[in-house]
């Protein structure tokens, strides 16, 4: 079982938490729960209530819609993160591709944490803003290609 400080070291490399100070990450670490999943076990499926996000510590997780593969989540990857920000049901399913160790964060705990620690909120907003900028850049580049 990982200690809080070991979780902090892990979280530092997770994209969505990269802009949060290490001390603030200790608060995030304190609300994470380790979850072992065996190969082929379903973590969540389409239409489930979105109530938590996950990070991969070991192993791989298949993210798919029906049988179509969306992506494989590996070490340090986050999945189910949008559950933090909307109340929609899951749009994709997550199934363990191999035996895996995950860190899980419950939405309710995370929302409380965000309300209490402005440093965490600020860091996550920065990460989301960066993601959106990248998407916008990519869309812009694709649009240019199509026009050409």
């Amino acid at each position: 079982m990982l200690s809080i400080i070991e979780k902090v070291i892990f979280l530092q490399d997770v994209d969505i938490f990269k802009h949060i100070s290490s001390e603030d990450l200790s608060y995030v670490a304190s609300i994470t729960v380790e979850q072992n999943v065996e190969k082929d076990s379903v973590i969540y499926k389409e239409g489930d209530i979105s109530d938590s996000m996950y990070m991969v510590i070991e192993g791989k997780v298949r993210l798919h819609v029906g049988e179509s593969l969306v992506m494989i989540a590996e070490l340090n990857d986050v999945f189910g993160a949008w559950s933090l920000f909307d109340d929609e049901v899951r749009l994709i399913s997550a199934t363990a591709f191999e035996d895996s160790l995950l860190l899980k964060i419950d939405k309710a705990n995370m929302i409380e944490l965000l309300a209490d620690h402005v440093g965490v909120t600020e860091g996550i907003l920065k990460a989301m803003a960066k993601r959106l900028q990248n998407i916008a850049r990519k869309v812009g580049a694709d649009f240019d290609k199509v026009q050409k």
Partner: protein
Amino acid sequence: MTKIKKQIRLFFDIREGESKKVAYMFFLIFFLIASLLIIKPVRNSLFLSEIGVSKLPYAFILVALFSAVIIALFSKYSKKFHIGRLTRAVMDISILSLIGLWILLHFGIETKIFIYVFYVWVAIFGVITSMQFWLLSNYVFTIREAKRLFGLIGAGGISGGIFGGYLTNFLAPIIGTENLVLVSASFLFICIYLGKYVWVHYGRKNYSERISKTIQLESSEKKGSSFNIIRKSKYLTLFAGIVGISVLVSNLVDYQFNMIVSQNIKNEDELTAFFGFWLSNLSIFSLLFQLLFSGKIIKLFGLRTSLLFLPFSMLLGSIAVFIIPVLSSALLLKVSSGAFKQSINKSGRELLSMPIAADIKNRVKAFIDVFIANIATGLSGILLLIITIGFDFSVQQIGLISIFLVLVWTVLIYKIKAEYIGSFRTAIERRSINLDEEQLNLTDADITGSLLNVLKSDNKNQVLYVLNLLENFKSEKLIPHMKRLLNHRSADVKTAILNMLDGFSKDEFYAQVLELMNDKDLNVKINAISYLYNNSDNPEKLIEEYIHSGDPQIKIAVMMCIANSYREGAELWENAKLERLFDSVFSEESIKHLSPDEADTMRIYASNFIGISSYPGLFPYLYKVMESDSAEVKKSAIKNMGETCSTEFLSTIIETLNDRKLQKYSREVLAGYCDGAIPLLVERLQDKNEDQSIKNAIPSILGRIYSDETTHALSDNLLTGDRTLRFEMIKSLNKLKTRFPEIDTNTANVNIAIIEEIEYYYNLSAILGVEQRQKIESDKIETSTTSSEARQLLVSSLKDKVENTLERIFRLLGLKYSSSAMYDTYLGIVSNNTKLSEDAIEFLDNILSHKLKQYVIPIVETRDSEQLLRNAKLFFGIEFKDEEECISEMLNGDDDWLKTCAIYLASTSDISKYEEKVKDYLNDSDPVLRETATLALNN
């Protein structure tokens, strides 16, 4: 005396601590205007007696030309000096000019050119001193204070005008015109003292903050010039046209007046006394008309009529002068036009500017008032030259030109009226009227007509916005709209209307409100029963009827109504009856048949009932519901404990500050507690045995309460407690300083804290330097990932801490200087933009005291870690350490997170060196430190 002072404060709505600055500003404008009203008659009489009225057009042209140039130069260069220095400089120059003038007059060496210069000088002096005064006022008063107090301050100017004019009339025959100049100069001497005091005590503090805002405003101004904005808007063009033509006609009227006066009075001193006397009379007439008639006229006849008063008075005066060109006709023309200009016409112009969006108004109003008015003055000079020299017009014929221009003016007023209604409608649709900044004048029938029309809209938000604007509008015209809106589909709209029914006849609404008791929305029911209760002939019977209703919502609504009437002291509700009713609706027995969620809802309303009624006999219920499992029920109990204002709940609420789910609500309640929360909060803050998380929560509560007590508690305790608590206190003081720049903090403590933080900054930087070097060395030889990760974590944590310390230093500087300016400087320093960073350092170099500069500038300037270490040794004797010493220092420090990281790093190599110290943390209150210490020793 104190009683009289109190009455005066109450009458003028002067709040605690404002009396002195209001008095200083009142007398500053009083003496400024008095001084101006002395030299104006002197100027006029000198000009008429020495140069003659025929040359007045040249003076108008010169005033227009020089005013435009000098005011533009003044505006440009005034930004380079602070307003305190600038006010002093203008006063000094003005006094010297007046003394120079007196010497010239006294020794009879004045020339004609000099009199022209004097004429222009007085015009520019009037504009610049007035500009300066209101600029200074903006530094002295906050926006909210300004809204409340500018009327009173403005009255200081009017009184000064009346005083100055009468004094001139009284003194001119006794001491002569030339010596009046010295009286005017002596008033300016008083202004120097008053201005200096106001600047030092009230203005200087806000200077940096407002300067940065000015810069922001300027950059936005570049988006489009004022001229272009006016040109593109028909409404603004007409507005500018009206202002321009009014100045033009006023100057023609002035010329006629001066012409007739100079024909009748030849003696210089008599002329001075005459002008002084009539300028004062004009001010009094203007003041009385404004107080007694302006509001009523606008209310009865609307905007158009109010705008027509000035041109029509000029028309009648010009006709009178045309028919009988004697002094009394000229006086009628001058006094009526002058008085209406300052009273009803000014109010009309304020109404005209109302539909202009706030940001545009800020930009174009000054342009119209200064530049358009100047152009009109110049044009009036040219026109007068053409008609008097070119066509040799007599005083009557000039009146004919005025009459023609008044007709054009009238056409413009008619045209703007149509545009005005359209613009106002657009402003409502866009909701661009800022309710915080504007006090909506509902005296004009057209405005209210437009507002009532919006009430027909389907847009709920627009309807609510207008209902907000009409909050205090009690007119029959509103009744049909209110009746219709009581059936609106939105509960918010119905609630808003129910809250506006007071003051209207019961017969109009009672039956309709009765039906609303069947509404689906609880809020609507609560407001409906409240109305029915207040308007019923037999309220007791009404309550009896509804209290036994099967609908729980109706029961709640009735109970809320009872709670309100109990709080207001209704005799109907004796305590025993209140308790009986409470039990019948809210007791556990009465709600046992409800589902758990419904029961919790009833408990929440039971708490609300106690909060509203504040009946002490029911207080035990609030303690009881604090044991509930539901956070919502507890939150409601805390909120209503606050509503009761009883100090008996304070300890219970403070205890919840360490409950993550409740602390947010507890903070809000404690910050808004009526009275008495502060002493207990301060006591708990200073208590060494207090739970640390409760202590850490207290500064943010104190930071929301503006009082000397909270400011002192925070700044006096700045040096106590650990760095987390200190940071909380600094943040709270910053918040207070931003909202109330006038707060006094314990400067000595702030200075010590700044130096302590700088020392801590150097200490951390020294440790960071060591760990960074160690990391480079280790990465070359080490294979252990854990050790490398642990060191990387420590390095990144130290970097965060160095950055946090820099932020704390700037927050502390924000307590000595302007908070927002220091925050902007901090952002500049930490930005990657070299130019911004250099500008920020330059700003610090200019603003910091010599001693602080010595310490602060090196830490923001130095990027090189070796130089930082040298500075650390130079300023604080911090010696170079090895890693072992660094880890020991962190373990002995007061930062739990650095201790945790240090222990973790030590555990990856040889923990035995630190074993004794680490053992101390096995039972630490910080869970992460405790866990890391346990793991380190077990490994």
